[in-house]
């Protein structure tokens, strides 16, 4: 063996770490460090001595679990969580139901205009949540909306879409509109990877297209359904852009509508970064618990079905 040949394995050994270095540095600086800092801040508070004037009157001290108990008993965060839960119960099933429906339709035989409709349904993916909320927001405004114009002409009741119960529907509609296309593509991609023989066999057995969809296709794409469900839960819990954008259009949308909005308010309007950090940590833990709980439940079911 020459020296060059002996040196080469060493170079190969170090190479993957060298390639991963930029990602590692960015991860440390913009993921690990901020998360650690947020955790640290969540256990701190400002102690004000005397009138809080002069230097040294405001000290950062340990707060124990005070920020956490405050966050959980204060009401804003828990009310926001309940709102988002209700919102999620509409958004996730409707969005994924539509995504699955469209994907199955795209995958069916003799369908016309598939390339056009596929692109059209996917289009909202390219539109920022702020712009989507803005467009729908105007369509919800009685003064400018064509729907209200029609309702008015037909002498039908005109519901206020930006208040109370309808607000949930209005908000959910924006998320469904924005998210269906991407999920449709994910499910459609996995439908396309089913071998043609499987359909053919079912067809020869006399199965109708509906039966093939329900008994063959849907079970075979269930891994991608689990994946889309998983990411939809995460995205729903973190809703921020749409309610924030709708806020200027209505007075009945509180500034703490979603948990993330509460965190923003506490951090930047009230200036209590400690409280905000604790709330952010709670949201992160809740997100992880919910999404992994779901994944485990889904895995267990799949194993049972395999048996």
């Amino acid at each position: 063996m020459t020296t060059a040949a002996r040196r080469r394995p060493y170079g190969v050994k170090g190479a993957p770490y060298a390639f991963l270095l930029p990602a590692a540095i960015l991860f440390a600086l913009f993921f690990a460090l901020p998360i650690g800092y947020a955790l640290y801040l969540s256990f701190r508070k400002v102690h004000v001595s005397g009138l809080g004037l002069g230097s040294g009157a405001r000290n950062e001290v340990w707060a124990g679990l005070e920020n956490y108990t405050d966050a959980l008993t204060d009401g804003d965060l828990t009310h926001g969580a309940l709102r988002v839960l209700g919102y999620g119960c509409i958004v996730v099933p409707v969005m994924l139901g539509l995504a699955l429906l469209f994907a199955l339709m795209l995958d069916s035989e003799k369908v016309r205009l598939a390339p056009f409709t596929r692109l059209a349904i996917f289009l909202p993916y390219a539109i920022p949540g702020v712009v989507a909320a803005l467009m729908w927001g105007f369509l919800y405004l009685p003064d400018v909306s064509p729907f209200y114009y029609l309702l008015d002409k037909l002498h039908l009741p005109q519901p206020d879409l930006l208040d109370g119960g309808p607000l949930y529907l209005a908000m959910s509609n924006i998320a469904v509109w924005g998210g269906t296309g991407f999920n449709m593509i994910v499910i459609y991609t996995s439908l396309r990877s089913i071998p043609a023989e499987v359909h053919e066999a079912a067809k020869l057995d006399g199965a109708s297209p509906l039966q093939i969809a329900l008994r063959v296709k849907i079970p075979m794409v269930s891994p991608s359904l689990v994946l889309t469900f998983f990411f939809s839960i995460i995205a729903t819990l973190q809703v921020f852009n749409e309610p924030t954008t709708l806020k200027p259009l209505t007075n009945s949308l509180p500034l703490t509508w979603s948990p993330l909005m509460t965190v923003y308010q506490d951090a930047f309007r009230k200036g209590d970064i400690y409280q905000a950090a604790a709330e952010a940590v709670i949201i992160a833990i809740a997100t992880l618990a919910l999404s992994f709980g779901f994944l485990r439940a889904a895995n267990r079911r799949q194993k049972q079905e395999a048996r």
């Binding site: 060059a4 190969v12 190479a15 993957p16 991963l20 930029p22 990602a23 590692a24 960015l26 991860f27 600086l29 993921f31 901020p34 998360i35 800092y37 339709m105 795209l106 069916s108 035989e109 003799k110 369908v111 016309r112 598939a114 390339p115 692109l119 059209a120 349904i121 289009l123 993916y125 390219a126 539109i127 920022p128 702020v130 712009v131 803005l134 467009m135 105007f138 369509l139 003064d143 400018v144 064509p146 509109w177 269906t180 991407f182 593509i185 994910v186 459609y188 991609t189 396309r192 995460i234 973190q238 921020f240 200027p248 993330l260 970064i273 950090a277 952010a280 949201i283 992160a284 997100t287």
Partner: protein, 301 residues
């Protein structure tokens, strides 16, 4: 890859045989799927169509005419929007292009390095590193954004272009996609052959692996471009100088002011219309040689 869907149409149109054995219409065109998809398309295109039409209306027309009739004020609206605060709107568009373009480019490079390392080498800690990077997807953006803001404030970097660019370079989903594409597109024996020829690891990556990974990397670039272009929370937290705003944040502040002055509504609507053109154009152009399916990690066999 969209060719399959296209190929179905000729067979659906079919060759028309003699009149008596011609199958009924619903047999030749699958009516239910086609109509369902058309309804879906109408639903998604409806608000876009409304914005296009509403952007042609003058302020007075917006509140008075039937809202699916075009108005007469399009050129005027664009002139007003361009004149608003000395053309700050176009500054926002430029900023968004800069954040998304440069950010996605850097993100693609980092994803390519990492994805290639995770796909082409076997080394200690590989799966751990991959899983830790992926866990980043699960972190609510706000748990990152607030401490990022506070930490960047200590480095005196908030309210700068860097404060929006830097936190978005590392994309867990981009690394994930790049790894899938690298695994599928770069055969191990090709890398091994390069080593036999005495090429260094960097040379093998740039000359052999990178060209093979290009279609996948285009996807990573697009994904990240859209993610940065659409991002609102991070710039909302980081920036206060509206000269540095991206378009999402700019439109939001415009809308916020519009809540007291409905006269600004026409500007907001025209601004929203112009803001969706670049990304839609990008997708229309690119889908001729790039498939949507790649976005979900599908790999051509």
């Amino acid at each position: 890859m969209s060719s399959l869907a296209v190929q179905k149409i000729p067979s659906a149109a079919g060759t028309t045989g003699a009149a008596q054995d011609r199958p009924p219409l619903r047999r030749r065109i699958a009516l239910v799927p086609t109509v369902t998809l058309l309804i879906g398309a109408i639903y998604t295109l409806l608000p876009v169509a409304w914005v296009v039409i509403a952007s042609t209306k003058s302020g007075r027309e917006l509140f008075s005419t039937f809202t699916f009739l075009p108005g007469t004020g399009f050129a005027d609206n664009i002139r007003q929007l361009s004149a608003y605060r000395d053309g700050v709107y176009w500054k926002w568009m430029g900023n968004s292009a800069l954040y998304a373009g440069l950010g996605a480019l850097m993100s693609t490079c980092v994803s390519a390095f990492s994805g290639y390392a995770l796909a082409a080498y076997r080394f200690r800690g590989r799966e751990t590193i991959f899983n830790v990077l992926l866990a980043g997807v699960l972190m609510p953006p706000i748990i990152l954004a607030i401490p990022q803001y506070l930490l960047l404030a200590k480095a005196d970097l908030t309210d700068s272009y860097l404060s929006v660019l830097l936190p978005q370079i590392l994309s867990p989903y981009g690394v994930y996609l790049a790894r899938i594409y690298a695994t599928a597109a770069v055969p191990a024996d090709v890398v091994e052959a390069g080593r036999m020829d005495g090429a260094g690891e960097w040379r093998i990556f740039t000359r052999v692996a990178l060209p093979m990974m290009v279609p996948g990397l285009v996807t990573v670039f697009l994904f990240q471009f859209v993610a940065v272009w659409n991002n609102f929370l991070l710039p909302y937290i980081m920036l206060s100088d509206d000269e540095k705003f991206p378009i999402t944040l700019g439109l939001y502040t415009l809308l916020e002011q519009g809540s007291n002055q409905p006269a600004l509504y026409t500007l907001v609507i025209t601004g929203a219309f112009l803001a969706v053109i670049p990304l839609i154009a990008l997708f229309l152009v690119i889908q001729r040689f790039w498939s949507l399916d790649l976005l979900s990690g599908a790999v051509k066999s």
